[in-house]
Amino acid sequence: MSTHQRLKAPMGLLIDREKTISFEFEGATVTGQAGDTLASALAANGHWLLSRSFKYHRPRGPLTMAGQDANTLIQLPDEPNVLADRKAAAAGLQVSGQNYSGSLRDDKDARLDWFGRFMPVGFYYRTFFRPLGSWKYWEKLIRRKAGLGRVNLEVRPDYCDKVYRFHDVVVVGAGPAGLQAALTAADGGADVLLVDENPLAGGALSYHRFDSEGNLADSVRTRLIDDVKAHPRIELLLNATCNGWFLDNYLPVIQGNRMYKVRARECILATGSFEQLVVFRNNDLPGIMLCSAAQRLMKWYGIAPGQRAVVLTGNDDGYHTALDLQDQGVTVQAIVDLRPAAEAADIRHIATEKGLTVLSGSTVYEALADRKRQHLRQVDVRAITGRGTVADTSRLIDCDLLCMGSGYMPAYQLACQAGARLDYREERAEFSLTGLPPHLHLAGSVNGIHDLDTVLADGRRAAGSVLQSLGLSDAVAEAVTCSRRVNVDWPIFPHPRGKDFVDLDEDLQSKDLVNATKLGYRDIQLVKRFSTVGMGPSQGRHSALPTARLVAAATDRTVSETGVTTARPPFVPERLEVLAGRGFDPYRRTAMHHRHVELGARMVPAGVWQRPSYYGLADRRDACIHAESEQVRQRVGLIDVSTLGGIEVRGPDAAEFINRVYTFGFLKQPIGRTRYAIYTNEQGVVIDDGVACRIAENHFYVTATTTGVDRVYRDMLKWNAQWRLDIDIANVTSAFAAVNLAGPLSRQILARLCDDLDLSAEGFPYLAYREGTVAGIPARLLRVGFVGELGYEIHVPALYGEALWDAFMSAGEPEELRPFGVETQRLLRLEKGHIIIGQDTDGMSHPGELSLDWAINRKKPFFLGSRSVDIVMARPQTRRLVGFTLPAGTPKPEEGHLVLRGDHISGHVTSCEYSPTVGSIIGLAYVGTDQAEPGQTVHIRVDGGSEVTATVCTLPFFDPDNKRQEL
């Protein structure tokens, strides 16, 4: 493609004329200037066809040049539905059109346009449901044709992140009202963030003409921007979209790959307004665009939007567009003014003085395409005879550009998200916003103010209100009014042959909306859902107003009564990767974590912790676990149990508190002894367990499960807030690292590192608690028997944890000390019949089902859940947790496999492993109470649906007299 001549400066505010860039579009190389968007670079090369419409595959070109419409959606290799008038042109980009069959220029699916009359709104709903079952066929076809771009499922997300910001005032929109509001607020002492979605500040000042001479906008813009940039209390964020409004002015502002999460004490919406299209036949042809789009092409990118132009307008702004076009050498064939001549006498006079032809009280009734049906060739202009009707006499005007504008719709989305209402002011044919929440303000054209002077005054007024609200000013801001009318009340001219589009995103014609009302969908929300109006990428920016007018007329209501559909975030489409941001996934590692990794441990998550499952290769899991198990049973093993919860209870009422929380009796627990502690909730369900160590008269150290400790700690705080016992409760889980040294040889290894304690069976018996030093590290030692062997749990301050591990691994070399993992520990405890809370219990497990009656002190008056425990245990029981065995070689049940009673389910397996020590498969399962007697058999359904017959047995499976752990 060849590069067309750009307009001379000061046109082309955004482009760098010295720097060219090239990219590929549809396989051809396109050259543009740095600062171009893809759409502007293509336009500069005379390429106006950008996309195909959603339903009829009609050719589409730039409409707004502001990223506010679906006409410019294009495909990038890794991203579909990119707005070509927003996406900056960059060297080497591979760009293509989307939603076509064949090529963008020669789309075979464009023939759907011919059959439009057979595909009215609601066509899918009413056609493809019969004959019964036909939807399965149609669905495939429709899904293949529906949708726009192609998603690349292989793409890796970019690095995106989020940043919190806090400001006194956030001004959304850096147009004249926003710039002025920011300046006034900052001058008053407020810290201001000014955001704008465009790459340059100024809003309409950067492209619009505010006077017939064309000087005013630039001078005002330059002054405001210079002042803003020089102001120490204003930060200006460009290319930044405020994409929603959330309670208390919580504003997501997206800039590139970053989302700012902004908290604003006060927020001013100076979001401007959307220019509105005129509804006539073929109003979607490339070459037809909004007046503001043509002005943006010239002022921002230095591109003449056409050679011969017609301007169709409903206000004075169209005349300014015509003057701009004329100034840039575009032949303006005519200004077609929707208003009667009397309403535009002044501006009409100026235009005619400049030699422009004005056709008042007229409209374009139909646009005619060129031979290839891909660009505007001619317009059919007719006199308006009534609301939506025209004279029979037509005047054909040759042109390749039609600039249109029937008025403005406030950019209401953010305000409505905040709870504002849209009311239609009949006398101005315009929606206005009311009912804003406190600390949210409007300024400028979003507030129905259109003259530049009053826009600036409205910015000052909004800032004045903000300063007053912030306590920085006592002055009461005076209201600003604007008498200028910018909207025509009925810019809709239905054509008998249709294609008079109201919603270009969804290819909806005026008759589609009227027909929806005839089918009974009178409410605007139902019209939206039936017709899909406003559901496309532009979210009703240009269709909401004509839809409200059409539905109001069709249902004999006012436009206010009809309203518009609900505006919800986001304001513009946003990428999921930006919403996700940089993922934060906290994890916790014990002090010994890296030693496990160095020793080849397979790490598994345990809550947010990572624990060694076993040590060795994954494909040798069972062998590794069995070897580790044998090591503990025959010699000695070491396991990291730092993740166990730890809670300290200190104070005069410590024993009373522990006694109330746990089921056992603790008031008389001797100092230097440990005791098993079960925690039941108010429903009598066992939700945690641990060991309570009495360190001193008024000092308990209680362990809890890895994943349960936070809840137990929280509950303890809650209960003592009621009980008000004189204690201090501290969660010390992270303060201690701990290991369990287990096995018949453990005492002799410990003796090598600990010389200040009597480690003999008599001096440090089973279930005793001692404090001493291990490898010179102050330590708490517990003689416990979770795995059923002589063993010591050694707790040390966390920063010494790795040193403790190192000391044991070194001291244990003569005994060939080996580490063992959680899976091995689970097998060892299963052999002893010890339950794991959460694995062998569920949300219904009470102590009776778990055979933990022995751990409940019936003599004390109270413990948490005591009343419920009594109630649930007094009821007829339906299940019980029992041990079972299966011969080695039998298909091994897995956790969750069902226990059957005939055809009925009576329970399920909670733990199951092959035990090399026992020589058979062993497990725990809930079974019916009538199946729980030792020696009974139960049927378990295993993988594949087959059943195995297990024998219920007495627990434990190993060392029933507990002699090994009490050595």
């Binding site: 992140d161 910001r165 940089r582 002090a591 974590h593 730092s642 501290a730 303060a735 966390a798 040193a803």
Partner: protein
């Protein structure tokens, strides 16, 4: 077991749980409180610390007390007690006293000493009732973020406004940093104001990595003690 002259962290008994993430790229280490801290991380430590620098001071001494008598206990040790929760004050020996609640106070060792004052303090007998020693030396890691971009770095990780205007020196925020619980203290430590971050000691390397990631934009990185003291 330990060799006090060794410059390998795992030859010292007291180790930060995050030592591996900073030890490999460190130029020199210094022995502090039975462990090692980074003395110099790289050639540009000073410039880095002025921009944004991060150091792990977990092994340095600190202690804490909780209970109705905790404030009186600290006053009896001639330490200043901030008059409100979430405030910090500096003692005459350079120790920083953190008031985390009406009844919970921590004491951080001074930048200039080896923690001997705090160690001595921790060994003082406690009041007979209503004052309990805390385990903050081991329950929490101590990371220090220095430099003029420290608030901007934290804005990427934390939803609290930590700019100087809202969070001046002497203020404390107990909040979430990178979705992990943390205590953020704005205080003078050594030559400059810093953010001290106290997180779960088991999450130290997680938070270290999260901070470094956030600092990359500001060309920040690990620094040594020499750049701060």
């Amino acid at each position: 077991m330990s060799d006090p002259t060794s410059m390998l962290p795992d030859q010292h008994p007291r180790r930060s749980l995050a030592w591996r993430v900073w030890a490999a790229s460190t130029q020199s280490l210094a022995v502090k409180s039975e462990g090692l801290v980074v003395q110099q991380a790289g050639e540009n430590d000073s410039a880095m610390a002025e921009r944004c620098g991060l150091i792990d001071l977990t092994v340095l001494e600190r202690t804490g007390f909780r209970g109705r008598q905790a404030a009186e206990h600290l006053e009896s040790l001639d330490l200043p007690v901030p008059d409100a929760p979430n405030r910090a004050a500096v003692g005459t020996q350079g120790e920083t006293v953190l008031r985390l609640s009406a009844r919970e106070l921590w004491v951080l060792s001074a930048a200039e000493d080896d923690g001997q004052h705090v160690r001595r303090m921790a060994n003082q007998p406690l009041p007979t009732k209503d004052c309990y020693a805390l385990y903050c030396q081991h329950s929490h890691a101590w990371l220090v973020l220095a430099g003029r971009y420290r608030a901007a770095v934290m804005a990427k990780l934390c939803g609290v406004d930590l700019r100087e205007s809202a969070f001046p020196v002497g203020h404390i925020a107990q909040t979430s940093v990178a979705r992990s619980n943390a205590i953020v203290v704005h205080h003078q430590w050594g030559r400059q104001p810093v953010f001290s971050l106290f997180c779960d000691s088991a999450s130290a390397d997680y938070l270290w990595e999260a901070l470094l990631d956030a600092m990359a934009e500001f060309e920040g990185g690990p620094v040594g003690l020499a750049a701060l003291v």
